[in-house]
């Protein structure tokens, strides 16, 4: 199957463009609907893989370190992210525990691992891993379902709500999670579909 990688269409309004060599590496928008066709990031691959590795390590810290401590008179309570997830894990609320687990841990980690699997061989000069295309595609599909940043806003709201009832101290995992959200947001600014797909397609398979 022969196709032309410089010829792309806007996924939102179907207008076809032929990108010049300079347009491939600069920021371009669809003339009709304004969709960002290219983000114009050089070294996108190295940045994406590096940040994906960082966020995987941070997630390891988040899972095993204490998240928040609470003091209310004689009572002390401490919660890890695992406790937050398991808080729902009784009876009919079980599915909700799974949902929280998936949105704040499973999906963000899967995205990082999929990106590393698909793009790391390009950096090390190896041939594409089998199924690299599916891995990269799923990394994009999963993006709206990774809700780490929304969870952090939820934490902020919960802390204010508890504020009057008890004193709260933040643990290591809390700050690791904040860092994770920053790293993921930064990573998304490098996720130029055009650059990633062109690079993957031109690497030997």
């Amino acid at each position: 199957m022969i196709y032309d990688p410089t010829c792309i269409a806007c996924p939102h309004c179907d207008v076809v463009y032929r990108l010049s060599a300079t347009q491939m590496v600069t920021r371009t928008r669809c003339l009709r609907c304004g969709y960002q066709l290219t983000l114009g990031k050089s070294e996108a691959i190295a940045r994406v893989v590096g940040l994906a590795l960082t966020s995987t390590i941070l997630m390891g810290i988040v899972l095993f370190a204490p998240f928040l401590h609470l003091n209310a008179g004689p009572f002390v309570s401490s919660a890890s992210v695992a406790d937050v997830v398991l808080g729902f894990a009784t009876g009919i609320m079980m599915p909700l525990a799974f949902a929280v687990l998936i949105f704040i841990i499973v999906v963000p980690v899967s995205r990082s691992l999929l990106l590393i699997y698909a793009l790391a061989p390009l950096l090390t000069g190896h041939a594409n891993a089998s199924g690299a295309q599916s891995a990269l595609r799923w990394a994009f599909v999963l993006k709206p379902w990774a809700m780490a940043e929304i969870f952090m806003v939820g934490v902020a709201v919960a802390l204010v709500k508890i504020g009057g009832m008890a004193t709260v101290h933040t643990g290591t995992a809390f700050w690791a999670f904040v860092l994770l959200v920053v790293v993921n947001t930064f990573q998304d600014t490098f996720m130029c579909r055009n650059t990633l797909w062109t690079s993957l397609a031109t690497n030997r398979s």
């Binding site: 199957m1 196709y3 032309d4 990688p5 792309i8 269409a9 806007c10 996924p11 939102h12 309004c13 179907d14 207008v15 076809v16 463009y17 990108l19 003339l31 009709r32 609907c33 304004g34 066709l37 928040l68 609470l70 209310a72 008179g73 009572f75 309570s77 919660a79 406790d83 937050v84 997830v85 808080g87 729902f88 609320m93 599915p95 909700l96 949902a99 929280v100 949105f103 704040i104 595609r137 994009f140 709206p144 809700m147 929304i150 969870f151 806003v153 939820g154 934490v155 709201v157 919960a158 204010v160 709500k161 508890i162 009057g164 009832m165 008890a166 579909r193 055009n194 797909w197 397609a201």
Partner: protein, 212 residues
């Protein structure tokens, strides 16, 4: 087709007799089933997009009802049990002068979901018949709904954290209510509804004045 804007006539992939990949942007001949570059399924326009949008929307709307009737949280404080619904929780926050937090919860759990139901239903109904609305505006509201919809999850996460943290025997403890599960599902279904929508439909009608 030059993106620098020298040429004003824009051609769509469909007009050129081609099919575009929404995953990686590649343009291919219409006889291919999956994209040669990223292996995604290729469709000139998503099959039954509007019907799928309405089905997910209805599911989300149905679940939004119990999400508001049943309690989100059950707080036990000094042997007294108290149930609070989504709106009840917001009212309590306002009584305690926590206006900013009250506003965040109200926006995330009431304004965004209700706004989303209205906007998606409006787009789905509008695009199934001829109309003269500005496509740029329709495209903007669709993009806004797709971007903002996931933020409704805030309240579900707040409940999860409160349940995990506030476990002090008789002094105070918090349990999740049925509404938390209904609300989470409602958000998931409306997100799927917004994703099922094919934004290219907005521009097709702009081109021809009538849907194909």
């Amino acid at each position: 087709m030059d993106i620098s804007g020298h040429q004003q006539k824009l051609t769509t992939a469909r007009d050129a007799g081609m099919v575009a990949c929404t995953s990686c942007g590649l343009v291919a001949s219409p006889d291919v089933e999956s994209c040669p570059r990223c292996h995604a399924r290729m469709q000139s326009r998503k099959d039954g997009s509007i019907q799928r949008v309405l089905a997910w929307l209805l599911a989300g709307l149905i679940l939004y009802v119990p999400a508001n009737i049943y309690p989100m949280l059950r707080t036990t404080q000094m042997f007294k049990e108290q149930d609070s619904t989504i709106v009840g929780g917001v009212i309590t926050l306002i009584h305690h002068h926590a206006y900013a937090i009250g506003a965040i919860i109200f926006i995330a759990s009431v304004l965004i979901p209700v706004g989303k139901f209205i906007v998606i239903a409006y787009l789905a109904v509008l695009l199934s018949r001829p109309h003269t609305k500005d496509p740029h505006r329709l495209h903007f509201i669709h993009a806004a709904v797709e971007f903002i919809g996931r933020w409704s999850m805030i309240d579900v996460f707040v409940v999860a954290i409160l349940v995990a943290l506030v476990q002090f025997d008789v002094l105070a403890s918090i349990k999740p209510g049925l509404a938390a599960a209904c609300f989470a599902l409602s958000v998931v279904f409306t997100m799927l509804s917004a994703q099922a929508f094919d934004p290219r439909l907005i521009w097709d009608i702009a081109d021809e004045g009538t849907p194909k």
